[in-house]
């Protein structure tokens, strides 16, 4: 379709844009279109209220290149999605999530899939607009009253005067003998603006400018500091009717929100008067024996091994050599402030009284946190029993083995 002439201020009759033929059925349209096609026209088109099967062939339209454009759009979306996720997760902000590699392709597939579909769909719509030269604010056919029925129950062929084969009389005869129910002149539209109305253009420009505001605000917020308090959207959440630990409360004379235990009382189940069991001390020094209430048996050993696996292996490693995942991760970050976890099979810890190890687990040491509030005292002792087993396994002597085991060692079995 050719563009209407630019803002032509015409006096006298408008020049001829083309000839419009009307058909009353899709079959008649297809027969008419075949005739126009066979006459060698190129600047012409058909208009129908609904898609008509076979019209492409009747008009001799070559297959559209739109699928290739969509393929490029889809591949572009795919590349963008994978590329951005690789950059964000693997390069700009690596963050360890459940032990997976920083850049894990499986996690990226849903986003990649969505962006591929989105870009394909958007390319299809806007590619179709572009190939159809849309939007077209004015067209000579808009002025034809008869043409309104192209959205209802009539089928049209428009042959443009700009076509080299066009001859007003011959073309009219061709259309009239092609099964058309009517053939009419279509004059050029000399009144309408052929360009986008200024108003719409301004609105689009303002919208485009406005769309940058959220990004500008975000950029500003990242680079600036403020002294005003934040705006509370949900005050119930921000100011809850309770006191948090380590806060002030003017209701009490000592102004603490935390209440201390009342002197001379003991909470239920908190009577820890057995120093050996709860502090690892006998007569004020670290005990070298397990408390009598801890049974040294396989069940306690299994319990200790399980608890050790849960609480200790992240830093100390599976056999306690101080090579756990946290340690390895810290080394890989190479930040220089890392105090390595102890190797619990060292000589120093092998001779350390069990009471002192108990004290370490309870209160922590150096950068090892306190576990007293997480692990019940009985479990701490079970862990120590397992630790002793680990230590022994690294410093065993021949005399520690049973007769049978010694035999098998000698035989090399």
């Amino acid at each position: 379709m050719s563009q209407a002439p630019k803002k032509a201020r015409h006096t006298g009759p408008a020049p001829l844009h083309g000839l419009l033929a009307e058909y009353d059925s899709p079959d008649a349209l297809i027969r008419g279109a075949e005739k126009v096609r066979n006459a060698g026209f190129r600047d012409w088109d058909t208009f129908t209220p609904f898609p008509v099967h076979g019209i492409d062939g009747a008009m001799g339209i070559r297959p559209t290149i739109l699928p290739w454009i969509i393929l490029c759009g889809g591949l572009g979306g795919c590349t963008l999605a994978l590329g951005f996720q690789w950059w964000a997760n693997g390069v700009d902000y690596p963050f360890l999530i459940s032990g997976k590699p920083f850049w894990s392709v499986p996690a990226n597939i849903p986003i990649t899939f969505e962006l591929t579909v989105l870009f394909s769909a958007l390319t299809a719509v806007f590619g179709m607009f572009a190939l159809n030269k849309l939007p077209q604010p004015a067209h000579p056919l808009d002025l034809k009253e008869r043409f309104a029925r192209s959205t209802d129950d009539r089928f049209f062929v428009l042959v443009q005067a700009s076509d080299p084969v066009f001859d007003e009389r011959d073309t009219r005869t061709l259309l009239e003998t092609s099964g058309a129910t009517a053939v009419e002149d279509v004059p050029e539209d000399v009144k309408s603006e052929s360009e986008m109305p200024r108003g719409i253009l301004y609105v689009l420009l303002i919208l485009a400018a406005a769309s940058t505001i959220p990004f500008a605000l975000a950029a500003y917020a990242r680079e600036s500091k403020t002294t005003t308090t934040r705006f509370d959207i949900v005050p119930d959440m921000d100011f809850q009717q309770k006191f948090k630990g380590q806060r002030m409360n003017t209701f009490f004379a000592d102004k603490r929100a935390d209440r201390l235990q009342i002197e001379g009382t003991v909470a239920v189940g908190e009577l820890h008067d057995d120093d050996h069991l709860y502090a690892g001390k006998l007569n004020g020094v670290f005990a070298r024996t397990f408390p009598p209430s801890i049974h040294i048996d396989q069940a306690t050993m299994d319990r200790g091994r399980e608890r050790f696996g849960i609480y200790c292996t992240p830093c100390h490693g599976q056999v306690g050599e101080g090579d756990g995942m946290v340690h390895q991760r810290a080394l890989s970050l190479a930040e220089g402030t890392w105090v390595p976890p102890s190797n619990i099979t060292d000589e120093r810890l092998r001779v350390m009284p069990v009471g002192e190890i108990f004290n370490t687990i309870t209160h922590g040491v150096r950068n090892m946190p306190a576990y007293g509030h997480q692990i019940p005292a009985e479990d701490r002792w079970a862990i120590i029993l397992y630790v002793r087993a680990l230590q022994k396994s690294r410093a065993a002597e021949l005399k520690d083995l049973s007769e049978q085991e010694r035999e098998s060692l000698i035989r090399g079995g």
């Binding site: 899709p26 898609p51 099967h53 076979g54 699928p67 393929l71 459940s98 032990g99 499986p106 996690a107 597939i109 849903p110």
Partner: protein, 406 residues
């Protein structure tokens, strides 16, 4: 657009001796291959034969189920385009009773407690595993037998019903038949989904009885439907090569079959396969990950990679273009491709659970495959003899003949 119910079909729509010749040859080859398979596979209860036969049987079961689903969905949606290709699908899908027979070498070892590959059917192994004991309420021989009878009974009846009603319409010409078939296909579709899902659990997933994945049935369904469409396209091409249906079936119908092959065999299958993989990968629970661990280690790593490439990446770009789907030669190539990769997929589902790290390729795999496919094709060809290959009195036939893709 053509309208009207009376259609004069100027086409050769029956096949006689050519079908029975093919049928006899295929049946003969199939039976001989199966006997050889039993011999080289260590007897009918041998571990090699049981495993090879299971994969081969799942393969022809996928063909039959895919085509049965095709017939059901066409009736359910009152589809017009597919009328000219539906009868061939009905004839192929009517193999369901034959498939029930072919299922016996899979079922009998379980029932007599001699199965080499289904641990849950062995009481002594169940007693050793708390997980299997816990699952014994479902995974026990009696309940398994009941379920299998329900599956194959339902599929057999449904497929025979569709074929019989459709052929009766050729003589009676009653348009109401379509209404009643539509009414039957709606509840049948629900039952089909349930039976296929649980059949996939019972026959494939329970080879590794510790593993569980609720999407497993859908995974098998995707491959089954794709291979059903592929076989249908190839069958139509064979018939047209013999001078049948040359005017009725044209590239518009092949184009639609190609779209479905692309949709189910490439996109749907990959979507489901990835959905299953990603949740298990993310959740990282040992009860589930061990199944993929078996498949991502040792030589199986190669097969997993090959599936990703040959079930998704390559056919995605290969089948994407409409020109490929409208050209009979290129469509035939991709139909073969999908039928081959379906076997690889089923092999990958079953075998890594039985043989860690190593791909246990054996001549029995090939013999079993040739055997069951021979029986499947042979039975269908014998059935096709003398039948109309197009439902001549279906009121939607004219629309199907005049069908054009937009």
């Amino acid at each position: 657009m053509a309208h009207g119910k009376e259609v004069h079909l100027d086409d050769n729509i029956q096949i006689g001796d050519e079908a029975s010749d093919l049928g006899k040859k295929a049946l003969g080859i199939g039976v001989v291959a199966l006997v050889l398979g039993v011999v080289v596979g260590g007897g009918p209860l041998g571990r090699q034969f049981t495993a090879s036969y299971l994969v081969a049987f799942l393969y022809v079961l996928a063909l039959g189920l895919g085509l049965l689903w095709f017939v059901t969905i066409q009736h359910l949606t009152n589809a017009k385009w597919s009328v000219v290709v539906r009868r061939v699908a009905e004839i192929l899908a009517a193999n369901m009773p034959v498939l029930a027979l072919l299922a016996l070498p899979v079922i009998i070892p379980i029932v007599i407690g001699q199965s080499e590959i289904y641990e849950w059917s062995d009481p002594s192994k169940v007693a050793q595993s708390p997980a299997l004991e816990h699952k014994a309420g479902y995974l026990n021989v009696t309940f398994f037998l009941i379920r299998v009878v329900v599956y194959f009974g339902f599929w057999g009846l449904l497929s025979r019903y569709f074929l019989k009603q459709s052929i009766d319409q050729d003589t009676s010409g009653k348009p109401e038949v379509n209404k009643s078939l539509q009414a039957v296909s709606a509840p049948s579709m629900i039952l089909f989904g349930l039976t296929l899902t649980f059949c996939a659990f019972d026959l494939i997933m329970s080879v590794d009885p510790d593993f569980f994945s609720t999407i497993f049935g859908v995974y098998y369904f995707g491959g089954a439907v794709a291979s059903g469409y592929s076989l249908l396209a190839l069958s139509l091409m064979w018939l047209q090569g013999k001078g049948r249906l040359t005017h009725s079936v044209n590239r518009e119908h092949y184009h639609d079959l190609g779209k479905m092959m692309f949709a189910f065999g490439v996109v749907f299958w990959s979507y489901i396969a990835f959905s299953q993989f990603m949740l298990i990968w993310y959740g990282d629970v040992p009860e589930e990950t061990h199944w993929f661990h078996d498949r991502f280690n040792g030589d199986w790593k190669i097969v997993s990679g090959a599936l990703l490439l040959c079930h998704f990446v390559i056919p995605f770009f290969g089948l994407l273009s409409r020109h490929v789907k409208r050209n009979r030669k290129t469509l035939a190539f991709w139909a073969f491709w999908l039928l081959v990769i379906e076997y690889v997929d089923l092999y990958w589902l079953v075998m890594p659970s039985l043989s860690k790290d190593e791909i246990p390729l054996h001549i029995a795999d090939l013999l079993c495959w040739v055997g069951v496919v021979g029986v499947f094709v042979g039975a269908a060809a014998m059935r096709a003899k003398g039948k109309n290959l197009v439902p001549t009195k279906d009121p939607r036939l004219a629309d199907s003949l005049a069908f054009l893709n937009p």
